[in-house]
Amino acid sequence: MKAGILNFPGINCERDLLQILRNEYSATAELLDYRESFQHHYDIYFVPGGFSYGDYLRSGALAARARSLDSLRDAAQKGAPIVGICNGFQILTEAGLLPGALIRNKTLKHICRWVGLKGSGDWANQFEAGYSLPVSHGEGNYICDADVLHRLQDENRILLQYAEDINGSTEQIACIADTNKKIIGLMPHPERAILPSLDSLAGAKKYGQRFFELVFQQLGV
């Protein structure tokens, strides 16, 4: 597997992804500079978490207008699999590659903890009871209009929901896919649930692994 990881100033989860893709999945993983366009020759792209451009203007807004995003858009048109995690999810919605938007948590607090999740849509019944992943976000409150919501539901594109309402997200949405089910965005951090040094839950490694397993299966990587 050859993975491209888009990097922007203020992103801080790119090394975690790099390490996991290389060590756990024997992938050839490379960081892609935001100032440069790139040729589409990767099997999968990741847009990592962090605080691109200091979250100025709107989370993900400025990264979504970077030069590398034009290349990502071209790759998306050719059907390339893309996964956006946390700020990466925000960047993909800002870029118009995923529907809806992510606004300030209803509590106005940054939430940094493990949260319970349940699979839905195409991923219903794909996760064991008690499945959880870490989240760390201040703007994870997913909103969309009624038409978009109906389409997400009808097309089974809401893949993960929070087990409880943590941030005000419509339908407790934590993870969605685009129309072609090739682009996935989620607020939780599966890459933080794999390395033993980052685990704060016993057996958490299998939670992170389960996510990546499903993603590679769904996206045909």
Partner: protein
């Protein structure tokens, strides 16, 4: 000519805006019981060199659509003033 364009960006009415709600609760808690709703938005000033106001507004409109606001959740209003 030099123009200043002010862009006011607000959440759409359909979006429950958490910052405004928090500010409202705080004000009500301080005894300002008359306040019914608060919405927090963003104010952006652009200084633009253009041949006339229409041209400055046209440029500002393009910039607003490209980056200043997100039509999924926000609306944007532009106002122009000449500064030189």
């Amino acid at each position: 000519m030099h123009y200043r364009i002010v862009a006011t960006v607000r959440f759409k009415k359909s979006v429950l805006e958490p910052q405004g709600q928090a500010v409202m609760l705080s004000l009500q808690g301080k005894g300002h019981e008359s306040v019914r709703n608060i919405r927090v938005g963003r104010y952006i000033e652009l200084e633009i060199e253009a041949k006339d106001e229409a041209a400055a507004m046209h440029e500002a409109q393009k910039m607003a659509e490209e980056i200043l606001y997100n039509p999924v959740m926000e609306v944007c209003e532009l106002k122009a003033e000449q500064i030189s």
